[in-house]
């Protein structure tokens, strides 16, 4: 299937899903006007890719510096899809990049680890990431 690329805007993240290389990236800030409308097609294509690629080793880089409450909920669905894939034969290696001072994003990472055991989660604190 075709790769998925959505350029970042001031309020929505860059989505760079290179399905042919099993490399997925989310990067930027996320507070779109309608988080469900932004993420629904992303999740749909992700699920389709995951269903077609059982057994793959998938790397997911998450470099989000801010997400609002409605994006948080949608991100949970993204990770839920990845966890299901990891339970049914794929390997999902997730790099969770965050500013080392950012407690909120660190805690959300902890939530993900607690809920999604099949994802191989690596916390990657970065010093002075952005402002």
């Amino acid at each position: 299937m075709d790769n998925l690329y959505i350029a970042a805007t001031a309020t929505s993240p860059e989505v760079d899903f290179r399905f042919d290389q099993h490399q997925l990236l989310l990067r930027g800030e996320s507070y779109p006007e309608n988080a469900a409308a932004f993420y629904a097609p992303v999740i749909e294509q992700l699920r389709q890719y995951l269903a077609e690629s059982t057994g793959a080793v998938i790397t997911v880089d998450v470099v989000l510096t801010y997400f609002n409450s409605s994006s948080t909920k949608m991100l949970f669905s993204v990770f839920d899809a990845l966890d299901e894939a990891a339970q049914s034969g794929s390997r999902v290696l997730m790099n969770w990049y965050r500013d080392e001072e950012d407690e909120t994003i660190a805690e959300f990472g902890e939530e993900l680890k607690a809920d999604f055991h099949a994802i191989e989660f690596t916390d990657r604190p970065v010093s002075h990431q952005g402002q």
Binding site: A10, T11, Y31, P32, E33, N34, A35, Y66, N68, S69, S70, T72, K73, M74, F76, D99, E101, D102, E103, T104, E107, E111, D115, Q131
Partner: protein, 187 residues
């Protein structure tokens, strides 16, 4: 001429005395919130606010402003007209010593007041740990039907605040169907 200048000076002096970092009263759309977000980030950085506090203030600013875009009862156009929502309200950020105050005011339908009160009142008596726990539960729960987001906005603000959220309702004397909703977060 000189009298006008005197009035203007008083206005700016008051804003300075109250340490106003940001104030907007008027219409809020998604694009306006995005543009204001840039201003708020810059102002907080210039004011020397620490990174973690800046992030919490910015987070509360986005939640409050998006609440106005989604829920203020004063809409510039009917919702079914093309384009996003544009609704009326006010947001103000001030500093008071080490604390930062984030306030917002917007009109709501008087019949929605009880619902808002029922969501906000319980948060006031919850500990930080209880708020985090409620946040975790809501994150995994189905989104409430009446919500245009995730139903997590007030919990997110309560989590970022360093004191219980304060709120008040002021019914409008000239318009009984409308109530002014005021919300204040201390960060």
């Amino acid at each position: 001429m000189s009298q006008l200048l005197e009035q203007d000076r008083a206005f700016f002096e008051l804003a300075q005395r109250r340490n106003v970092l940001f104030y907007h009263k008027g219409y809020f759309s998604h694009n306006i919130v995005a543009a204001m977000g840039e201003v708020v980030k810059l102002q907080l950085e210039i004011a020397g606010v620490s990174g973690p506090t800046r992030r919490k203030l910015f987070s509360s600013f986005v939640e409050l402003s998006q609440n106005i875009v989604h829920y203020s009862s004063d809409s510039l156009q009917p919702d079914n007209v093309g384009g996003g929502s544009i609704r009326e309200g006010a947001v103000c950020i001030t500093t008071d010593g080490e604390r930062h105050l984030m306030m917002c005011v917007n009109p709501v339908a008087t019949h929605d007041v009880e619902g808002l009160r029922n969501k906000l009142e319980p948060l006031r008596s919850m500990s930080v740990e209880e708020i985090k726990q409620a946040y975790k539960v809501s994150l995994r729960a189905d989104t409430p039907e009446e919500s245009k987001g995730a139903g997590l906005g007030f919990l997110t603000m309560a989590r970022d605040a360093s004191a219980p959220l304060e709120f008040a309702f002021h019914p409008r004397a000239d318009e009984p169907g409308t109530t002014l909703f005021c919300l204040k977060a201390i960060i």
